[in-house]
């Protein structure tokens, strides 16, 4: 099926970039990957969106994910063993039928600068910001990285009965002038942002993100969505497009497209996906999602030269 520019997702972000004050709380919403997030801040907290999120601003009285935000005195690390430790910025605990996410800097013995509790489907949550680090004077984006992205990957894959909504992948998303939706997967340094710059300025081309793409199935078809979590090229689009081709990027002395067997493609995509690895149901959902994707769409290794000929190789489907 050919894709045209008109088949981009039809919703448009509103101009709601500032928090709306409603009595004793303020509210701010955004939408990524067709999932809406609503923040309600109390205790006089002032909110703002990160600049990269402004194109994703939305207005809604009731969002898919709702988070209440407040200030708290010194936050504590739970006494029990964590379910999962990222080895860096965040740690996950089981608590009250849901999950607690703690966020710490890498200073030994320091208390969390924020903590959030979410229900088992990551639909409702309460976020507390430590008064040691936050105040009511300076406007903040309470969901700052990595919380917004960690929340997204959990929400996408945590539907009841192993029924998730989609997955987030480490990829560049490009829609070419003929409507082809190209997903270029790669770890850091693989050439996603470099490739994005090569595509920039090509007439009729739209880039959804140069670092993070959300994949979802809509009416039986696979769609890719831009995200605010951009890479070096700084490209973050709130639009979506039908996905038609999948590539794993590999820098090489010449351009070459090599077909990948389905099993290898699934492994390569999984290695470049952001899935809650502590959760068996989420992993199972992600693996099934990826397996189906590999059965429906052409998956290739794209060995490429970081120059304009790489764009032509994709547009003409040849190596």
């Amino acid at each position: 099926m050919s894709v045209t520019q008109t088949q981009f997702a039809t919703w448009r972000p509103s101009a709601a970039k500032r928090a709306v004050a409603c009595g004793d709380f303020s509210r701010l919403c955004y939408r990524i990957g067709d999932v809406s997030f609503g923040m309600k801040a109390f205790d006089g907290l002032r909110m703002k969106l990160d600049p990269s999120l402004r194109g994703f601003a939305a207005e809604s009285a009731k969002c898919d994910v709702e988070v209440k935000i407040s200030l708290a005195d010194k936050l504590q690390v739970p006494a029990q063993e964590p379910l999962f430790a990222s080895g860096g910025l965040w740690t996950l605990f089981a608590e009250d039928g849901g999950y607690r996410l703690n966020f710490l800097r890498s200073f030994a013995g320091e208390a969390p600068y924020k903590t959030a509790w979410f229900d088992e489907e990551f639909r409702r949550g309460e976020l507390q910001l430590s008064r040691e680090f936050f105040n009511t004077r300076d406007a903040v984006y309470p969901m700052e990285y990595p919380l917004d992205e960690v929340l997204m990957i959990h929400h996408l894959t945590s539907g009841k009965g192993g029924c998730g909504k989609g997955i987030e992948v480490h990829a560049l998303g490009v829609v070419d002038d003929a409507g082809g939706g190209h997903l270029f997967l790669g770890h850091s340094g693989a050439g996603k942002s470099t490739s994005a710059r090569l595509w920039q300025g090509v007439p009729g081309v739209r880039i959804l993100s140069d670092d993070r793409i959300i994949l979802r199935r809509r009416e039986g078809q696979l769609w890719m969505y831009g995200t605010p979590w951009h890479g070096d090229a700084g490209i973050a689009s709130p639009h979506a497009a039908l996905l038609t081709n999948v590539y794993v990027l590999e820098q090489a002395p010449r351009n070459e497209l090599v077909e990948m067997p389905r099993s290898i493609a699934a492994a390569e995509i999984f290695a470049r996906s952001f899935v809650p690895r502590h959760c068996p149901e989420a992993l199972q959902f992600a693996l099934q999602f990826i397996e189906q994707l590999c059965g429906e769409l052409p998956c290739q290794t794209f060995r490429f030269l970081p120059e304009r000929t790489a764009v032509e190789a994709i547009r003409h489907g040849r190596g």
Partner: protein, 65 residues
């Protein structure tokens, strides 16, 4: 059916079955710190750009992926 007939049936079944292919071990590159969103990648504008990593109050020392 005598023994000879049974052998022919067995050989015909084997011809129809797919040839056995031994499983292969495939090594796939995985970047654990990237995969779990464990680190910021903020030098200039690289990666998910976070206020926490640029803010004067919350200085992140967790540069990585």
């Amino acid at each position: 059916m005598d023994w000879e007939d049974k052998d022919e049936v067995r050989l015909a079944d084997e011809r129809e079955a797919e040839a056995y292919e031994a499983p292969k071990v495939l090594r796939v590159s995985l970047r654990p710190a990237e995969a779990v969103l464990g680190h910021c990648k903020v030098t200039g504008s690289a990666g998910p750009v976070s206020a926490s990593c640029r803010s004067a109050t919350i200085t992140c020392r967790s540069l990585g992926s």
